[in-house]
Amino acid sequence: MTSTDTPLVRVLEADGTFAPSPASERYLPLIDALTDAELEQFYRDMVAIRAIDTQATNLQRQGQLALWPPSRGQEAAQVGSAHAARRQDTIFPSYREHAVTRIRGVDPVDIIKLMRGVSHGGWDPTDPKNGNTRLYTLVLASQTLHAAGFGMGLTFDGRTGTGDPERDEAVVVYYGDGASSQGDVHEAMVFAASYGAPVLFFLQNNHWAISVPVSTQSKVPLVGRGAGYGIPSVRVDGNDVLASYAVSRMLLDEARAGGGPRAIEAVTYRMGAHTTSDDPTKYRGSDEEQSWAQRDPIARMRAYLLSRGASEEFFTAADAEAAAAAEDLRARTVELSAPGPAAIFDHVYSEPHPLMAEQKAWLADYEASFEGGAL
């Protein structure tokens, strides 16, 4: 099956026209049920995260961050799926899910802690304010197995599959087209399928794994992989926030109802660099970038909202809200300082460990030995 004859769920054309594709029919009731306020929230979230993402990229350029992986272009895939998840669900992100984490309640400055080099994590996934959002994972696809295991645990504990969608739990795990080649994705799908774990495998196909095109990862659409595991899988236009929302919502609810794992390939595009250390001009042409710029997910939703009668005031307010969020991020980023040197020993183990105690004491003595005290 080629890319062109694989069914694709899309309800908004690139110009914002509401024109559901044949594959989207079963999802339309979920879209019809969305209120104006919800639609506007989708838009506000996309605009806000783009502003935050742009700010973070600038902060890196100005030496405030070690690295930043831009999410530009992937806002619809992320915002739609994040709003599809229910309060009780658990999210395993990769490392570019800035919109997802923010919608779940994670403060973007907590992501900055990781990228600024003051923490390997940044937030506490067990703190309710973070919406069951696990930490970013930098080794590609490792988190897919953690998601599968977590989902197995939900099944073993009867925390899912009871038939009550308000309480039954499910898991969303994010990964990309590059990560899809990792063996851990294969093993995660095997385990999730074998134990009927309520896991939604959400693949953002952004077309580039740093410099390697998706055609190197797979000669056929990645959505086809799920069938090999018996995992129902759907291909969705990842730049259409409504399609992303509706398909994620339905598949997650099928998983939580006891249907076992589900998979989505969200076809999107990484409009920016892989990270701030990357130079896309070395491997892709401006024609391609231009063609995807025509399919910008934010412009698409803006046009749709305009067609529904959204006011100029709404868009102005959304932009102002986004600018304020970005400015707030900048202010708090430059205030972030590294923890004291002794912190490196503090959480290597959960229980006391003689080597940690010994080396921590040695470091303190060593630092105290310098004139004027600590380094």
């Binding site: 390997h120 490792s142 197995l145 599968a148 073993f156 093993e187 074998s194 959960s350 229980e351």
Partner: protein, 326 residues
């Protein structure tokens, strides 16, 4: 006092059973551990008694076993994973070293990782490639992991329970050549904490130190040395990370000589680390350099040659003689 005599593998089985009875969050997972009871029968009967939700015959994928165990631990379980053989742990190496070992640190302590990984290891069983290796140094070199290796049925029974109750990940190295010999198991009270080394034979001339199956070989060497008039003290390290140096240093300070024996290849090994530390901390007590007797720095050879590779009592005694000659 309730004492029973049983093989090491049965003692492990009894320890696992006790841990599962004591804590309903403990579950076992691995290849062939349920219906079959494991290729070494360590988990025999446990699936029948605890069910398939607590004793999981997993798909055949080691990274999957450890990676999903991490997720299960995040969901509040205490998974005990069995890796079928030492040489099969490598597909899980990334999940063990980059994930399991670092989860607590990455979460600044907000999350603990009570996961045990049982690995049958070492030679002496005449098996094919990948079935006789001693990979412990890869794990002792990894911050965030604890690594232990019992050498007797009693330690097997208690240490597996202590490992399971630890809130840190524990790599539990089982010396597979010791699975069958029997020993006394004291079922009521553990004599030692998990991370303690122990003097298992008293002597005055040379301190012999080792872990796992090598403790038996060291005791054989000590018996032979005694018949030749040399008195050897033997220390079982038990905990490979962290190492409890107290009994080792006490012994070396009294004998002035030390030989470390291990099946693993010697280069950057546990024996190297312990030898260096003993020389740093007991330098003035030493009459001779600390010597090491190890597997050679080659791949583990085909089974017909394992006797050449694995240190035996004679190779240990050769090192004892060299130590005494200083």
């Amino acid at each position: 006092m309730s004492i029973e005599t049983m093989p090491f593998s049965k003692a492990l089985n009894a320890g696992l059973r006790k841990a599962m009875e004591d804590d309903s969050r403990v579950l076992l997972m691995g290849e062939d551990i349920g219906r079959l009871g494991g290729v070494f029968r360590v988990t025999e009967g446990l699936q029948k008694d605890f069910g398939t939700r607590r004793v999981l015959d997993t798909p055949l994928a080691e990274s999957g076993i450890v990676g999903s165990a991490i997720g299960l631990a995040m969901a509040g379980f205490r998974p005990v994973c069995e890796i079928q053989f030492d040489g099969f742990v490598w597909p899980a190496f990334d999940q063990i070293t980059s994930q399991l070992a670092k989860v607590t640190n990455r979460h600044a302590g907000a999350l603990s990782m009570p996961v045990v990984i049982r690995i049958p290891y070492g030679g002496h069983i005449g098996a094919v490639e990948h079935h006789q290796e001693s990979p412990e140094a890869y794990f002792t070199h990894t911050p965030g992991l604890r690594v232990v290796s019992p050498s007797t049925p009693n330690d097997a029974y208690w240490m597996i329970q202590e490992a399971i109750s630890s809130n840190d990940p524990v790599i539990f190295m089982e010396p597979k050549s010791r699975y069958w010999p029997k020993g006394e198991v004291e079922l009521e009270a553990s004599a030692l904490p998990l991370h303690a080394s122990r003097i298992v034979r008293r002597g005055t001339d040379v301190t012999l130190v080792g872990h796992g199956a090598m403790v038996t070989t060291l005791l054989q060497a000590a018996a032979l040395a005694e018949s030749e008039g040399t008195s050897c003290e033997v220390v079982d390290v038990r905990s490979l990370s962290p190492v409890d140096y107290g009994p080792i240093l006490d012994s070396v300070r009294s004998t002035g000589r030390m030989v470390y024996a291990q099946e693993a290849q010697g280069f950057t090994s546990l024996g190297s680390e312990i030898a260096a530390t003993v020389m740093e901390r007991a330098f003035y007590a030493l009459e001779a350099p600390v010597l090491r007797v190890s597997g050679f720095d080659t791949p583990f050879p085909p089974a017909k040659l394992e006797g050449v590779y694995l240190p035996d009592a004679d190779r240990i005694l050769e090192a004892v003689d060299r130590s005494l000659a200083y």
